[in-house]
């Protein structure tokens, strides 16, 4: 119970705790829409592409938030522009744009900062979260959750049946870019907790875990937020205990939860399916 004692005592740990829980929640929530719309690769792309923005903000001496959001949005539009205006397929366009941004980001960071900065941005260091970062994360988080609650109906119908949504007059293109915008915000908020490279695991894994457990989007979103937050706390704990970078630990925590659901989810789990089949067989032999 040392962790709890330390959590009560140290301010830096409290900030890390609050930040990582919020990051877990919003990654889980946005992750559901990313997973269901088949945009996992897009999530990966945006998270990598914020890197040059971070570097430029660093050089200009402004909060990394502004630069990161700017390059994130630029990437979303760049990918859209290439895949709509040429014969290049969407996944190739994604790879093309984000690798360029990422490469540029690494060069800029190496120039502007130091190797430690780069490692922190790539892999996260939740224990270095400052008050201002924590507040930024909480504000972004509140905003993202609010938008998802307010437009839940529209997000649901456009993710499930985009044609119907367009037919009754929803601006589906705008919804797409809104999700890209939220995704960028979430990525930026997650930078310090999980780092650029592993944001995608926070986006995709808790949402996929939840997906195995329910047939309702609203329940999926809540479960994903819960799994995200739980993974963050587990990750923070081990990161603190063994002095490990928080990103990879959190990523493995999300994966562990996924594995449990994959094996034991009541309907979708592979072990549960086997057991159901076996008990059916038993019934059948008992009857005959």
């Amino acid at each position: 119970m040392d962790f709890i004692h330390d959590l009560m005592t140290y301010g830096f740990l409290q900030k890390a705790f609050a930040t990582s829980i919020m990051v877990g929640i919003i990654c889980g929530v946005i992750g559901c829409f990313i997973v269901l719309r088949g945009m996992a690769l897009m999530g990966d792309a945006i998270s990598h592409a914020v890197l040059p923005g971070v570097a430029i903000s660093y050089m200009l001496g402004i909060n990394f938030f502004y630069g990161a959001v700017a390059t994130g949005i630029l990437t979303a539009f760049g990918i859209g522009a290439i895949s709509q205006n040429s014969r290049i397929k969407n996944d190739a366009a994604i790879g093309l744009v984000f690798s360029a941004f990422f490469a540029l980001g690494i060069i800029l960071i190496t120039r502007a900062g130091s190797a430690t900065d780069l490692t922190q941005i790539l892999f996260g260091n939740v224990l270095s979260v400052r008050s201002s970062d924590m507040w930024l994360t909480l504000i972004i988080g509140a905003f993202v959750v609010l938008v998802v609650i307010m437009f839940f109906k529209e997000l649901l119908v456009s993710s499930f049946d985009e044609t119907m949504a367009a037919a009754y007059g929803l601006k589906t293109r705008m919804i797409h870019y809104t999700i890209m915008f939220l995704l960028t915000l979430v990525t930026v908020a997650s930078l310090q907790t999980v780092g650029v490279i592993l944001v995608v695991s926070m986006l995709i894994t808790p949402a996929s875990t939840a997906y195995l457990l329910t047939n309702r989007l609203s329940v999926m979103v809540v479960l994903a937020a819960f799994f995200g937050a739980l993974s963050s706390v587990i990750g923070l704990y081990f990161s603190f205990l063994y002095n490990l970078p928080s990103g990879p630990v959190i990523a493995l925590a999300t994966t562990s939860l996924f594995c449990l659901a994959f094996l034991f989810a009541p309907k979708q789990g592979i072990v549960s399916k086997k057991i159901r089949i076996m008990s059916k067989r038993k019934e059948a032999t008992a009857k005959s």
Binding site: F160, M164, A167, M220
Partner: protein, 246 residues
């Protein structure tokens, strides 16, 4: 009273390849219209262009004196089955409830009446006992009935169904055509894309026959005859034995 629908000179191209060419027609209230033509004739493209879901090269659609954009909430569209993610986390009754969204509007949640109304629509298509199933856990015919229920839930005046009878069982087909007839009898305008010629006479009272260009449009008796069908289907089908009048 529902306004007539008038289509003026609609053309559609994909990358310079014109697939619908200068199609025009008009139908009044209380019509059940079959949109007929061979595979690749441009039926789906025509429907989507009418609804503004894909760009038109030129042409327009008028509902009385209104444009489609002004009447979006009066339009229910049931796309071809293939566009749906059948593993989506949504159950049958929530799928039907989506039909109430257009008239619910932004920032509002569906109310109790909306939920009751969507259950009523589900009952009309005979699917109420499946209300809690995930939509992928249904047969093709049952899925099609659920999507029809969703269209009914929209309380629309104009219905557009793309190949609703493909790959479904006979009893679902009967349920669906029954409901489409009821819609027609209550004065609605219903378009149904169809490519199976055998039931044309018994299902529709109006036809739009296309193969890229409009071949003919109007009452079944006028449109569904040998010359027209030969033009539309060219060498693709033997006309004998299809019940086409001479």
């Amino acid at each position: 009273m529902i306004d007539s629908i008038t289509v003026n000179n609609i053309s559609v191209s994909y990358d310079d390849n014109e697939v619908v060419k200068d199609v025009s027609f008009s139908f009044g209230p209380g019509s059940l219209i079959g949109v007929l033509g061979p595979n690749g004739a441009g039926k789906s493209s025509l429907l989507q262009a009418m609804l503004g879901l894909i760009p038109r090269d030129h042409g327009n659609v008028r509902l009385g004196s209104h444009s489609i954009d002004e009447m979006r909430k009066q339009i229910a569209y049931v796309p071809q089955r293939s566009n749906i993610d059948w593993n989506f986390p949504i159950i049958v009754k929530d799928t039907v409830l989506l039909g109430t969204y257009p008239k619910t509007g932004l920032f509002r949640r569906p109310k109790k009446e909306d939920k009751e109304w969507s259950m009523e629509c589900l009952r009309q298509v005979g699917m109420e006992e499946f209300a809690k199933r995930q939509i992928g856990e249904l047969s093709g015919g049952q899925q099609q009935r659920v999507f029809l229920a969703r269209a009914l839930a929209q309380k629309a005046d104009y219905f557009f169904l793309d190949e609703p009878f493909v790959g479904i069982d006979v009893s679902s087909e009967e349920v669906i055509i029954d409901i489409l007839r009821q819609l027609k009898n209550s004065g609605k305008i219903v378009f149904v894309v169809h490519h199976d010629l055998s039931k044309v006479r018994s299902y529709f009272d109006e036809l739009v026959l296309i193969n890229k260009e409009l071949i003919d449009a109007g009452p079944v008796n006028k449109v569904f005859q040998r010359d027209n069908m030969a033009k539309a289907y060219q060498r693709e089908l033997m006309l004998e034995g299809l019940g086409v009048s001479m």
